[in-house]
Symmetry: C2
Subunit: 365 residues, 2 copies
């Protein structure tokens, strides 16, 4: 992996520091992970115009052996801001300016960086690293694929166990344990288990409510594997057979989710994906049930670009992993969510690659 990280840094430098003497200072943890690999807490990366890459941090010594040869490690004590130390280095190396991540550095840290840099002018690197993270390479997609396999397996095992009488909290904890059992670093985001009137609610945090006969049960989880995160969401019915309203609502959300999935192709406008799901739900009178997003990019973080939303700009590209996650929640009754993680692929390569392969039939458990 080490050449991969060195190549990413070289590409970033070529893009953001094209021979004008700009040094780049990266501090946002997910961006550091992308550019360096494993990242210690409290670190900053400096890319000098002269071509030197320096990782400054409180515990970089622990990284020895992990990063690539092209990276110099510089340890600082715990009270020193690594970003400020990086500014000192940039000034010493004769950089003409220093671009920092203004969307991540706090005002207080920014002032410390400015003071440490002497007269070195500061610029904004903005979301340049995030933009480079949008399209994944095949190694990143392989990590996402493994994350999805782990997630499918954890969910599959849960479905084989007895659910009635168990609390949302317990089911969520068991799912997270199973993720780790199967090799995940941990959960990609807090696992949501929602029963009865809670089901289908987007941001539901597990409670002590127990699963009952006749409930809808919505489960949303994802594994984190080598830093990469995915999401699956499924809704089940507890008992021998679903009620008519449950079948109807399930089929509606399934149709909306399928409609959105079917739009996923290189060149599709992001808002077009959202519109496809929304149109199905609107047609059935559930215009307000959908939240602000139908899906979002995933990778080293949940909620990366692109956003699949009504006002989203831009088009999908090849090898962009996204979630498609519409849902409807009827207050007091419950609802349905169906979430998948897919990778945008051209038709020639078989179209969108579905990573989360657990069945989307309405199972009665």
């Amino acid at each position: 992996m080490s050449e991969v990280h060195a190549a990413r840094r070289a590409a970033l430098r070529a893009h953001c520091s094209p021979g004008d003497g700009t040094a780049l200072l990266i501090s946002r943890p997910a961006n550091l992970r992308y550019l360096v690999g494993a990242v210690p807490a409290h670190a900053a990366l400096l890319l000098t115009p002269g071509g030197e890459d320096v990782l400054v941090g409180g515990a970089v010594a622990a990284l020895r052996g992990t990063p690539d040869d092209a990276l110099r490690l510089l340890a600082v004590d715990g009270d020193t801001d690594p970003a400020a130390t990086a500014a000192v280095l940039a000034a010493r190396d004769g950089a003409a300016s220093l671009a920092v991540e203004e969307h991540h550095l706090t005002v207080a840290r920014y002032r410390a960086v400015r003071a440490a840099g002497g007269g070195l002018p500061l610029g904004d690197l903005a979301r340049a690293v995030e933009q480079r993270r949008l399209v994944k390479d095949e190694a990143e997609i392989a990590a996402l694929r493994t994350a999805a396999e782990i997630t499918d397996r954890a969910l599959g095992e849960l479905l084989e166990s007895i659910l009635v009488g168990r609390t949302e909290r317990h089911l969520a904890l068991e799912l997270e344990r199973r993720l780790v059992d199967h090799g995940a670093d941990g959960a990609a985001f807090p696992t949501s288990v929602a029963t009865g009137a809670n089901s289908g609610s987007a941001g539901h945090r597990p409670t002590d409510r127990r699963v009952e006969e006749g409930d809808f049960l919505t489960v949303r989880l994802g594994a984190r594997y080598r830093g990469y995160r995915c999401r699956i969401g499924r809704t089940f019915v507890i008992g021998s057979r679903p009620a008519d309203w449950q079948i109807e609502l399930y089929e509606l959300v399934f149709a909306a989710q399928r409609a959105a999935r079917e739009t996923l192709a290189p060149g599709t406008e992001c808002r077009e994906v959202d519109r496809a799901a929304r149109a199905v739900l609107d047609g059935a009178g559930h215009a307000d049930a959908l939240g602000p997003l139908t899906g979002e990019g995933v990778g080293l973080e949940m909620g990366e670009d692109p956003r699949l939303a009504p006002a989203a700009m831009g088009r999908l590209g090849v090898r962009v992993p996204v979630t498609v996650e519409p849902g409807v929640h009827l207050p007091g009754r419950g609802g349905v969510r169906i979430d998948d993680t897919l990778v945008v692929r051209p038709v020639a390569d078989g179209g969108p690659e579905l990573l989360t392969i657990t069945t989307k039939e309405l199972l009665a458990l």
Copy 2:
């Protein structure tokens, strides 16, 4: 609780906006929780010089009923920065300036706040809210006490189970499950379980190593209860009896921890607590084994003020909860950590109140 939060806001306003027209903008989540109670994601609190308290946020509607009457709720859509909206309100209300948390706001958000405020001058609220959080009231200490009880119980149950052959990861997950079982909101920080050569290492993340006969086993965990967090750390020996070097090292760390605990009193210099532990370890030739801190404040966050460290400034006050957590790790062999959470109390009230009461005898399990 609602009067408590209103009173905290009034005290903050009296302290930081003494009739000079300064509006206060609080954005740091733990500070919002302190001043408002439950806090939705993506929110900001504005205290106007005229005496109005406004909570601005994306999901403040969900708070209806929770906060106190003295708080106005203002919903904004998900793409709007609540801090920028608060700046608009402050300017409209005729504030002379707006103090923001420069240690929390990013440069990008700061620019958005400045633009939204028109010509409104911005100042720095700095860590004014954190300073007010240092000394806890008895309701906060009661929450910490419950957190510690839950933590002791989860640890006690683990000690009754069979440990040999189980992995660090599994033990950590089981402890976190037990914390939630006993009523915790969740873990206060990632639970650390370290066996064999990993034991005693401060930042150890659980691995797939299994517990073996003869191991030292170090466990560090804490519950989060109503937002309040504590820490306990204990080291055990696996097997019928400890080796001589294990007894010796344990007694040393225990002596260092006790020496530090015994200094805890109102008026003690923070660095004096650290020095007491360090002196014991230095005397035995383990000067380098101790990390930068012997302990730290706890409350709504881990790692609050005060820091118990060699260069720490300031003195302990009554009703300040701190951890005391020295440790020694011998590379390749393992080591010992013993962590407690205590509240500083005057001698007349019985001296320091030990919240984490699990025995510190060296147990052979």
